[in-house]
Amino acid sequence: MTIAGTVSPVFGADELKSLNVKAQVSPVFSVNMVEPDTFNIVGANGKLIPSKQIGSPVIVSNYTSWKISVDSSYETSATQGRLKLDDATYIPYTFALKDGDAVVVSSFLTPSAAQSITTKNGKSFDLFFYFDSEDATVWPQGIYQDTVTLSISTD
């Protein structure tokens, strides 16, 4: 006489599972530029220097589309800003924000074309000021200054 019993295997119903992994990426959006040192705006010939690289703003963005704009405290037109000595003395300048040789912005408060997502260390631009080196004005001694505001925005 043989008495035998079996326990049915529980196998197959739970042997495979799915794990969903989801990631949200926090936004990063910043613009930074090293404060420029005071520079000599008059050359050895006694005239204004033609141009000066003011700085290299760096934008870090993980938005796929964004724009940058530039503003001046003393602009007189869409393209002309001024360095101020006092309320009566200003040195006019124009500017260009460049990406390599390409001009990205050259008018105040006019957003650039859409820019793309940047690398981890950011996208670097170059900000140039241009002066009228043919101007015969004898500029009074002093420190001329302006405050330039760089703004970035997403679409």
Binding site: M1, E15, K17, S18, L19, V21, A23, T119
Partner: protein, 209 residues
Amino acid sequence: LVRPAWSSSISSNPLEIVLPCGSKKVLEGIMKKFFVAIMLSLLAVSFVAATDLTISGSIGQNVSVDFTDGLIAINVLGDGTGTLNGSASGFDNAAALKVISNRKKWTITFHSGNAGTLKSESLTPIPYKLHVTPVDADFATATFTNPLSAGVSLATDKTFQATADGRTKKTGGTLNVSVSVDAIGDDVFLWDAQSTYSDTVTITIAADL
């Protein structure tokens, strides 16, 4: 033919024996032999039954995996420095993978649907690492081969193996599963802030011989 005096004692028996007159002695001799033969037969039957009783049982294989919540949601820092350290372990979220096994040796295989990356349409995928850590109290004497303890990419399938004493309690044992993202290089493009990245990891368990 005559019926012997003892014939009534066996008349109720379906086996009625009728013998020729004068053959009583012969009949008695035959009956004795017949009786002895039955007794021996019964003894023989009793002896065989006592020694042929076998009780056996088998237990079916039972190995399974399950999640309390089969979702890991992580926050990745947008500046490319990797996973947000939202907890002491450095991971924002983890899933508890419950393993039930009545086999000593088993293998769990982890397979990524996106070759170890979190994807969002056509954007640059985010490579991630999967971490698997057994809860010691649940596997006190088990021996594991676990290449996922420090986190590993699922670019190819990875396995977590119980190589000895991997049997669990009825309620199972827990493997903590978590995900991390490493920092990217300075020249690598950032991951998009406005998208959700995802992957599906398929987990299978199989008993080993």
